[in-house]
């Protein structure tokens, strides 16, 4: 079962290593991990997607909490939170297929951010499922390179 944890940490050197090391050492599986600053320069937010059973999730949370630099952990409920991921994909195109690919990009409300004679780079944001669907559709044309950010998320309201 996948869970999305939003973890506020002190913005200090080595915090990412501590968190990653904890997951490795305790045998918890990280699906994705995204780190960035918040509106406060001394605090960063990590969005961690873990794939664990309910019982282990409790351990993940408690063990994370033991890290001195971890300030707050919120288990984000998909119903009451917003989650997004960004993909950058370099898709192979030629003069025959370019318009087809652009059509797909439009349907996914993506942007074309670079064009060359043999390829275009596309950015698409959305849920992991949406990005997966996009990826599946453009794969037949040939994906030269691809990168996904991992999920970032915030709770709704308040």
């Amino acid at each position: 079962m996948k869970h999305t944890l939003s973890v506020l940490v002190e913005n200090k050197p080595g915090v990412l290593a501590r968190v990653a090391e904890l997951f490795a050492r305790r045998g918890f599986n990280i699906d994705s991990l995204a780190v960035g600053t918040t509106d406060r320069p001394d605090i960063s937010r990590m969005t961690i997607v873990v794939d664990v059973a309910e019982h282990s999730l409790e351990q993940v949370r408690k063990q994370l909490h033991k890290l001195i630099n971890v300030i707050e952990i919120v288990d984000l409920d998909p119903e009451t939170s917003v989650a997004r991921e960004l993909v950058l994909a370099k898709v192979k195109v030629d003069k025959d297929t370019r318009s087809e690919v652009i059509e797909i990009v439009d349907i996914f409300r993506g942007n074309i951010v670079d064009v060359s004679p043999e390829s275009i780079i596309v950015e698409v944001t959305g849920s992991s499922q949406k990005l997966q669907a996009f990826e599946d559709l453009v794969r037949p044309y040939g994906i030269r390179e691809l990168v996904r950010t991992g999920k970032v998320a915030l709770p709704r309201g308040k």
Binding site: V9, E10, G14, A17, K62, K66, L67, I68, I71
Partner: protein
């Protein structure tokens, strides 16, 4: 007024302000600025012979005194040599501050001479660690380190100090309190949970108390005793919990688990309520997890929320400091007593007393050979059970746990979680220096003690009159026992050839300690008395029965009722369903 000083001066001043009276360590290149300042400090410097010894000595000091132990080592190999000691302290939740030197900040990451990524290496085995990059941070870092080490669930904290940072300058100022936004240990237990626990205790027909090292750490022994006595509940303890509850008390069942008493293990199989205090359901305690306390509800009191329901599901979890929680719990029980109809526990108590009588810890007393258990019993008798006993790890440790009965906390010092061979002698030195007036015994094995035997030099030069009793069987005894029981008697690499090497008496004397050899049971008392009278470190080399085993025993992975090997009593497999005697 703010004072200008170097990083090294700030470090030493911060240590003095934390009340540090003793540091165990070894200097080295990048630590020289610090040792140069320490030279003029009133803090006592104990030069050990190996950094592992320094860490264990600081650990033993912490366990005996309840204060934070401090050890120091240089960068690279000095720091990596501390690792075993830090991991030992981490597993047993011992407050320790380890200070390591580091290469200069501009050399970090270049594979410089004696460089190791110390914060990276120690991350999994510390409560927290710091790499200090700015001398101005030193006072805050030291203050935070000591605060983190001793509060909540205690543990080791490491400070890595590059040499240019200890040479750099700063304006010294000290905060009133450490600023740690993410660190707020819960000390007071949840009121509602405490009331639930109180009711469960009053309503239980067959309750047992399971006391761990947390009782000792939090100073909860008096409250635990009240809980047991006011409610007539028997107590079992872990290795780390030895001394948490007086072992001579009629309600004591002794230790449980792999080498626990049959009484404690059977009680755990039959109880309907486990009251776990400051204990973490280690696999050496639970045996086969799925069959641990199968009929019981579990109250789990622990200061670390992550321990609750980690191994065994807690029905009533209470996060908090054991002393505070037990105090509130005792009060809640007293309040509730009139409203709850408590069941009759006489049958349960009679059953426990029956087990105690039927299955005492015992060994063959008439063999004519020198039995290790006998040696421990005599040390117990001649020190009136009042010595601080440290142990090495292995058979010696288990015999010490079984036969040296302890009535007070902080008097049994042993590497529980990590099982670190070589722990006992340096820990004994640390304990002795922390408690100079006490008799300190290291009950040792010939294998284990050789891992840090060089610390005899430290003991001699520091005037720490520790007594080392080697239960010398010429084997890595516990390894041999497992090979005998589970590997068809193939003693692969477990024989240490007692007849040839080393001569412990000569070795002790080479270090300037006193050495005594005992092969005859008749000579045991005389040797112990001679050691107790000597004002110096004494090593007694007891040549014990080489193939004696630690019994009873629960084989690894077996359930607690499945105990093997009582020498003098026929082994009956006591399974709750198949037992001849009436289990409840």
């Amino acid at each position: 007024m703010q004072v200008k000083m170097t990083g090294a001066q700030a470090l030493v001043r911060s240590l003095e302000e934390e009340g540090v009276e003793i540091i165990f360590g070894i200097p080295g290149g990048v630590l020289l600025p610090v040792f140069d300042v320490l030279y003029d400090s009133p803090i006592r410097k104990v030069l050990t012979r190996h950094e592992q010894g320094a860490a264990h000595a600081a650990d033993g000091y912490a366990r005996a005194t309840g204060r934070v132990g401090v050890c120091m080592a240089t960068s690279g190999p000095g720091a990596t040599n501390l690792v075993t000691g830090i991991a030992t302290a981490y597993m047993d939740s011992i407050p320790l501050v380890a200070i390591t030197g580091q290469v200069a900040t501009n050399l970090i990451g270049t594979d410089a001479f004696q460089e190791a990524d110390t914060t990276g290496i120690t991350m999994p085995i510390v409560k927290h660690n710091y790499l200090v990059k700015d001398p101005a941070d030193i006072p805050d870092v030291v203050q935070e380190a000591f605060y983190i080490a001793r509060t909540g669930r205690p543990g080791p904290v490491l400070i890595d100090l590059p040499v240019d940072v200890s040479r750099g300058e700063l304006q010294y100022r000290r905060r009133e309190h450490p600023v740690l936004p993410g660190y707020k240990p819960t000390l007071k237990g949840h009121k509602k949970q405490i009331r639930l626990a109180a009711r469960a205790i009053l309503e239980a027909r067959n309750p047992v108390i399971y006391a761990g090292g947390g009782v000792i750490t939090s100073g909860a022994s008096a409250e635990l005793k009240k809980l047991a006595e006011e409610n007539g509940i028997h107590v079992t303890h872990t290795l780390m919990g030895k001394g948490a509850f007086p072992e001579s008390h009629p309600l004591s069942m002794g230790m449980l688990g792999m080498h626990g008493t049959r009484c404690a293990n059977y009680a755990m199989c039959e109880t309907d309520l486990v009251i776990a205090v400051g204990a973490r359901f280690d696999d050496r305690i639970t045996g086969k997890l799925s069959e641990f306390a199968p009929k019981a509800r579990v109250i789990h009191i622990d200061v670390d929320p992550a321990e609750i329901s980690k191994n065994v599901r807690a029905h009533i979890p209470i996060v908090g400091d054991a002393r505070q929680v037990l105090k509130d719990l005792n009060a809640a029980i007293r309040e509730m007593r009139s409203e709850v109809q408590a069941p009759d526990r006489s049958e349960w108590n009679a059953l426990i007393e029956g087990w105690k009588k039927k299955y005492p810890l015992t060994y063959d007393r008439d063999s004519g050979t020198l039995k290790p258990q006998y040696v421990v019993e005599r040390i117990h008798a001649l020190t009136r059970g009042e010595a601080i006993v440290c142990t090495e790890v292995g058979q010696n440790q288990m015999w010490a746990a079984q036969y040296y009965k302890v009535d007070k906390p902080r008097r049994f010092i042993s590497s529980g979680g990590l099982g670190t061979m070589g722990f006992g002698l340096p820990a004994a030195i640390g304990a002795q220096l922390g408690k100079p007036g006490e008799v300190v015994f290291d009950i040792a094995g010939d294998g284990s003690v050789q891992m840090t035997i060089q610390e005899l030099a430290t003991a001699v030069l520091e005037g720490a009159p520790v007594k080392v009793a080697i239960l010398n069987n010429g084997y890595l005894g516990m390894v041999r026992q497992w090979q005998q029981l589970f590997y068809h008697g193939k003693y692969s690499c477990s024989c240490l050839e007692r007849e040839r090497t080393p001569d412990f008496v000569l070795l002790a004397e080479a270090y300037g300690a006193k050495g005594i050899r005992v092969k005859d049971p008749e000579m045991v008392d005389q040797a112990i008395l001679e050691a107790l009278e000597a004002p110096c470190p004494v090593l007694i080399d007891f040549w014990v029965d080489p193939e004696e085993n630690v019994y009873p025993m629960v084989a690894p992975g077996a359930p607690l009722y499945d105990m093997i090997g009582d020498l003098l009593y026929p082994v009956e497999k006591v399974h709750p369903e198949k037992a001849e005697e009436p289990f409840l």
